[in-house]
Amino acid sequence: MTTPNETTSADQVRENLIAAEPPRRPGMWKYSVYYFRHKLLGTVGLVIVITMIVIALFADLIAPFAYQQQNYEDVLAAPNFTYLFGTDNFGRDIFSRIVHGARISMLVGFLSVIVGTGIGAVVGLISGFFMGKVDAIVQRLVDMWMSFPDLILALTIVAVFGNTLPNVILAIAATILPRGVRVIRSATIAIREMDYTMAARSIGASDLRTMLRHIMPNTVAPFLIIMSSMFGTAILTEAGLSYLGLGISEPTPSWGRMLTGQAAQYAPRAPWIIAFPGIFITLTVMGFAFFGDALRDLFDPRQRGR
């Protein structure tokens, strides 16, 4: 039996509800901290990524020598305390050159990925949103685009426009673009069918508003994931272009260019000449790959708590 005192009116229920602590879900920040503590590879990736960015930003402070400084007394010196990674056939400090080379790799990587996935995302958003004819045409174009091997496409663009910094960035962005289109398109198609998109449209939101306010924010996760996973590809393509002597033709050393020319001839005697630039390329690519995988797990709620 309930006494009148214990009966709960609707008002009482409402008050109780307001007073009660809302169920706490871990916030994004807290969750991230937890996450990186438990997912080692992702953390390793993040550390590598941050280290490379710091090296690129403060190259002048970190490098003990100028990258073009030739020390003729120490030609082909093995790694020691003065020259951490040894010297090359001109007596240049390999560590300093790698530190400066990080600039090119990071700069080209970031800009080409932003341009490539950015344009790709806009095209993918439009293609996935309007479907029908627009989509069919865009998809055929993407198919054609993807029938060019990455390096061949980049080389052709460099051949046409010349190998300056902006052109190399555009050439690499062009190899990334179609993948951006694919990923964002499929994300858009999924979100398009969501109830909240329906709701927005039913109260009369325009196409543009639905796209920008309701669909685009929800493609941020796949966008970030494709960005970080394409970063490695971009760095590898840049290294390939530089190795072929068709990358950026500036005095600044780049990792790929450190491996070309006479480096191969001296390599059997002085393996450090080619070993370290390659190790740095590999580390960076791996770092971004691990980080990208971790991001994927982080953004995919189904993976949480597993």
């Binding site: 061949i152 052709t156 051949a159 072929l244």
Partner: protein
């Protein structure tokens, strides 16, 4: 099956045309007029006397006369007749420069794809069957590392190692496969292995997940419940189903592999199509670049076509449709 084949072929033709237009436009956005540069020995875009007879003659030689659509039609028409234009660097037909190199590149590519498929599928199956053991971790870890390493760097390191440790000399003289198979393979096997090894990483990953998926199927459990040997279940029930999707990947691998092959030809100084392409790019020899890009794109499209047809033929669900 027939409707599928017809549909697939119908898709191939417009795609090939689209690709050719794409390439043509890309190579005709070149800033400046190359004919001038060639004539005057100066930079493209410099002032020139466009009406001069000599200039017109050079334009004609280079296939630059007429409007853009006219140029395109002429180029495509010639392309299908095997006339790829005149190389701008040595004024010889592009085809004459390509022809002696095609066999080498195809052989290298074929070897590399075969090596990638064999290593990738075997590794993938082992990795799946021994899931979450040290074998699995080792295979996955090494394939992930391999994918992060630039192919040409691995090649350089391997060559340096071989030279330093065994005093190995890279074989320089290339002989045609039919003339001297042993020497031919001694030149091509190492580069093919290095290109294939890198591509095998992706195939390993795909095979592993595909096999793991099939292992969970009911018919596998039934087969095991019947008391079949593990090897028989794997060979008869798992692999036949699991390797089907992997064939599709071979088509994509061809695209991926070509980037690696272009560089490896440079590393090993093999006179294949890729090396010619790089020479063309470095010298801004546009007819050469244009012809090779078109050629490569066609090879990729054809490879994808063959893989799709093969897939349809291997999969009874499509074959009997």
């Amino acid at each position: 099956m027939r409707t599928y084949l017809i549909k697939r072929l119908l898709l191939f033709i417009p795609t090939a045309f689209g690709v050719s237009i794409f390439i043509f436009i890309m190579l005709h956005t070149i800033p400046g007029d190359y004919a001038t540069a060639l004539l005057l020995g100066g930079e493209p875009g410099e002032a020139y006397d466009a009406s001069s007879e000599q200039f017109e003659k050079i334009r004609e030689q280079l296939g630059l006369q007429g409007s853009l659509p006219q140029q395109y039609a002429r180029w495509l028409g010639n392309f299908f007749q095997g006339d790829f234009g005149i190389s701008w660097t040595n004024r010889k037909p592009v085809w004459d420069r390509m022809a002696p190199r095609i066999f080498l590149s195809f052989e290298l590519g074929f070897l590399a794809v075969s090596i990638a498929m064999v290593l990738g599928t075997i590794g993938g199956v082992i990795s799946a069957v021994r899931q979450d053991t040290w074998v699995d971790y080792l295979l996955r870890g090494s394939s992930m590392t391999l994918q992060a390493m630039p192919g040409f760097w691995v090649a350089l390191m391997v060559i340096a190692g071989l030279v330093a440790i065994w005093g190995w000399k890279p074989p320089i003289e290339y002989r045609h496969l039919w003339d001297d198979p042993v020497r031919n393979l001694s030149v091509l096997l190492l580069p093919a292995f290095l290109v294939g090894l890198r591509s095998s990483a992706e195939i390993l990953r795909m095979t592993r997940s595909s096999v793991l998926e099939v292992l969970r199927e009911d018919y596998v459990r039934t087969a095991e419940a019947k008391g079949l040997y593990r090897s028989r279940v794997l060979g008869q029930h798992v692999l036949r189903n699991a390797l089907l999707p992997v064939t599709t990947l071979a088509g994509f691998e061809v695209v991926f592999l070509m980037s690696g092959q272009v560089i490896i030809e440079q590393v090993f100084n093999l006179h294949g199509i890729g090396k010619l392409f790089i020479q063309g790019v470095a010298a801004r020899d546009y007819p050469v670049v244009q012809a090779i890009v078109m050629f490569i794109a066609l090879v990729v499209l054809l490879a994808n076509l063959v893989v799709d047809v093969m897939y349809a033929w291997l999969d009874p669900r499509i074959r009997y449709e």
